[in-house]
């Protein structure tokens, strides 16, 4: 005789399976998205090469954080490694490690 009412574990195990497969699917989906963006990426790399760019344009609030790798000693947040920075991005960038 079959149970007239489904066991509560059945829908949950189904949900779990669904969740896991969707999670695995995100890996496949990320590959798909990456493929779709490949052309843009290639173009951007070409731009980086052509213009000899060195930095991402993520931080533009102050000029000494615009080109992180090209900054020099007078940049405000480097005056003291632990100095609190006026601009928020400065406080999120690791202070330079003073190598021995």
């Amino acid at each position: 005789m079959r149970s007239s009412k489904p066991r509560p574990s059945t829908p949950w195990l189904f949900f779990l399976l669904l969740g896991i497969s969707f999670t695995l699917l995100t890996f496949a989906d990320s590959l798909r998205l990456r493929d779709a963006m490949q052309a843009d990426l290639t173009a951007n790399r070409q731009l980086v090469r052509d213009l000899a760019l060195t930095d991402l344009a993520l931080f533009t609030d102050a000029r000494y954080v615009r080109h992180l790798s090209q900054q020099d000693n007078y940049a405000a947040f480097q005056d003291h490694p632990m100095a609190l920075e006026h601009f928020p991005s400065g406080s999120l960038i690791m202070p330079p490690q003073l190598s021995p």
């Binding site: 790798s69 900054q71 000693n73 480097q78 690791m94 330079p96 490690q97 003073l98 190598s99 021995p100």
Partner: protein, 335 residues
């Protein structure tokens, strides 16, 4: 010190493990002092009930440790971009003296943990807690191991300084340092594979003896051979199998195998090898328990089952090694 998420996760795990371990250790001391199965006193009942908590705690501790073994290797891999000359996880582990000890301690912990869990499981099959003392003595031995692992990991991470651009005159301080060697030297591939074959043959013989007789001596022999096989297999992976997988005669890294670029073949190799060894190590101990009345039937069955599964996994490992070698266009032995 780096503020990398994986490092933070590892430190968090090690904090949690320590927090769970200390009460467990205190409890182990209580057990050793006050345990009396004949008594129905309130204290004895409380102790018995606490064993449930402690085994659950320890199951979590060892799960967390297993997770942290994976995470440690992954994060070493992920950090390799931040250090000069560290091409992969091997290089990162070489950065300071704590890298390799941490990894080894984690591996030893994995085996110690599986030994404890198997013992605990076996103990649960006896109505009178036959192994309680041995179990908690073993726990007291594992505690310093885990603490050492945590300490070593903390030292490793706190001594890591990323080599970022320092704007004080020239960033070239890093140029003086030659970077960290990302290479492990191995023995000649031919010798490694030969040793692996010999070890496999001995393993089969001892496994046959255990399955036939199941005595303490044969179990001990199997266990020791398994341990040797494990060591030889690791060195064979580094000095020969990895070369076939990378199709490169000088790339020895044991961790790059775990990457997508090599079809995750490392998991296929390491999983059977580690699990097989974890199953083989408790064998002499289980064989000894055949003498305990409340456990003898279970122990007898377990000796057979564990040695059979262990051998099967070792053979699986060998088959995978052979397949990898056969599939690789690289030829090392023909010259």
């Amino acid at each position: 010190m780096l503020l990398h998420p994986a490092i933070m996760a590892l430190l968090l795990l090690s904090l949690l493990v320590t927090a769970m371990l200390l009460p467990a250790a205190l409890f182990a001391l209580q057990i050793l002092r006050h345990w009396n199965m004949q008594s129905g006193s309130a204290r004895q009942l409380a102790l018995e009930r606490k064993t449930y908590l402690i085994s659950t705690l320890l199951t979590w501790v060892f799960t967390a440790e297993l997770l942290s073994l994976f995470l440690f290797i992954y994060s070493a891999e992920a950090l390799s971009g931040q250090f000069v000359g560290a091409m992969c996880a091997t290089g990162v582990l070489n950065i300071n003296a704590w890298g390799w000890p941490t990894l080894w301690l984690k591996i030893v912990t994995f085996f110690a943990g599986s030994l404890w869990l198997i013992m605990n499981q076996l103990d649960n099959h006896g109505y009178d807690f036959p192994l309680i003392r041995q179990k908690y003595i073993l726990l007291l031995l594992i505690v310093p191991l885990l603490l050492a692992g945590g300490y070593s990991q903390l030292s490793f991470f706190s001594a890591l300084n990323p080599e970022v651009i320092t704007s004080c005159c020239g960033s070239l301080f890093s140029a003086d340092a030659q970077g960290v060697a990302a290479e492990l030297s191995g023995i000649a591939p031919k010798n490694a594979l030969l040793m692996l074959t010999v070890a496999a043959l001995i393993l089969c013989v001892t496994a046959y003896l255990v399955l036939k007789q199941g005595t303490r001596l044969t179990a001990l022999a199997f266990s020791i051979t398994a341990l040797l096989f494990f060591a030889i297999a690791l060195s064979a992976i580094v000095s020969a199998v990895a070369l076939y997988i990378y199709q490169h005669p000088h790339h020895h890294c044991p961790f790059c195998l775990l990457k997508a670029g090599h079809h995750y073949s490392g998991y296929l190799l390491y999983l059977p090898l580690f699990v097989a060894t974890a199953l083989a190590l408790p064998l002499p101990f289980i064989a000894r328990c055949q003498a305990i009345p409340s456990l003898s039937a279970t122990a007898h069955r377990w000796v057979k089952q564990l040695s059979r599964s262990s051998l099967a996994l070792y053979l699986l490992f060998l088959v995978i090694v052979l397949l990898e070698i056969a599939a690789s266009p690289l030829r090392l032995l023909s010259q």
